[in-house]
């Protein structure tokens, strides 16, 4: 698979399903370090950041860096930075579907 360049790069073959797998794996990984009462939902529709999620801003950073690592492992080099990152309503990282769409969009340039 052709690695892509960061932030607004060009991608080889990357599918939304593959990106979703990476995102869900990263959420499962995050849950290993979280209390039972603060587990994050693992599903294709789950919220990630905002009023419906237990993830704080530093937790979001760690999760996104894990997702970058997971994407790199499948040959997809992206840097997840966005000025709307911490916006409660407009963050592209607010939910699994929003994040998957965002990553796929960035990856495809």
């Amino acid at each position: 698979m052709t690695p892509i360049t960061s932030e607004a790069g060009q991608v080889g073959a990357i599918t939304e399903a593959a990106v979703q797998d990476v995102v869900l794996d990263a959420i499962r990984l995050a849950n290993l370090a979280r209390d039972t009462g603060a587990q994050l939902e693992v599903s294709a529709e789950a919220p990630i950041f905002g009023p419906d999620s237990a993830l704080d801003s530093l937790g979001l950073v760690a999760l996104l860096l894990d997702i970058e690592d997971g994407l790199r492992a499948i040959g997809c080099e992206v840097l997840l930075s966005d000025e709307r990152a911490m916006s409660q309503k407009r963050s592209p990282f607010r939910s699994v579907p929003a994040l998957v769409a965002y990553i796929t969009g960035v990856a495809r340039g």
């Binding site: 360049t5 960061s6 860096l65 790199r72 080099e77 840097l79 930075s81």
Partner: protein, 233 residues
């Protein structure tokens, strides 16, 4: 602890070169960045000839680092430029160059480096400030403001990177005989030295000493600090 992987910006001369030499002597693997060819020739030294303000070039540096080394333990944001001038006489482009080099480049290197530091047992980020910040010298407004930005960035970064086991500190050198201070009039430098508690020029080794303190594994509780040389502040 395995050999440290150290990245130093502005490693071509002056303080950066001294820091690189120190780390090499300590057995570290050192990567340096600078606008010109390196002064150091060592089998554990790799040099990238880049402009640290060029985001695309910096992106390329980190791609190569990830490919070669996987892990980064230390980032020293040393690259900096000066420019003594009255506010009224400073062109906007000159001010922009100073801010881009002294602050934005350090921000970009930190952002990228953090991704490689998560796998480090003791990640360390060290920024270089200046005694010109607490001394509020006339003619140093833009330079000192760019370093004030670095100091605030250091203190906030310390909080953001702590969850990853990374510390972030800064050292503020007093005047040291480098290319940067060579352009400052002698009487201005002397006036500055006269305001220090220790009234003499500093040496690159004084900076190395503080940086090494920050880098020590035992310094894991030391973060968000700015240490000035010579008793300024």
């Amino acid at each position: 602890m395995p050999e440290r992987h150290v990245l130093i910006t502005g490693a071509t001369r002056g303080i950066g070169e001294a820091l690189a030499a120190h780390c090499l002597a300590a057995g570290d693997l050192v990567v340096g960045c600078g606008r010109s060819a390196p002064a150091i020739n060592h089998d554990r030294y790799t040099h990238f000839e880049v402009d640290v303000t060029d985001a695309k070039s910096v992106d390329g540096v980190f791609r190569e680092l990830k490919r070669r080394f996987k892990r980064l333990d230390v980032l020293i944001n040393n690259a900096g430029i000066g420019g003594m001038n009255a506010i009224a006489l400073t062109p906007v482009d000159a001010a922009r160059r100073i801010v881009e080099t002294n602050f934005l480049a350090a921000f970009n290197f930190t952002r990228e480096a953090l991704r490689m530091m998560r796998s480090s047992p003791a990640g360390r980020i060290v920024n270089i400030s200046t005694v010109a910040v607490p001394m509020r010298l006339e003619g140093e407004a833009v330079y000192a403001a760019s370093k004030s930005a670095i100091e605030t960035f250091t203190r906030i970064a310390a909080r953001e990177v702590a969850p990853f086991g990374v510390t972030c500190n800064a050292v503020g050198p007093c005047p040291i005989k480098t290319k940067l201070t060579a352009a400052v009039p002698a009487d201005k430098i002397q006036a500055l030295i006269d305001r220090q508690a220790v009234r003499r020029w500093g040496a690159a080794q004084d900076v190395v000493n503080v940086v090494e303190f920050f880098l020590r594994p035992e310094s894991g509780m030391v973060t968000g600090q700015v240490i000035y040389l010579g008793g300024a502040g």
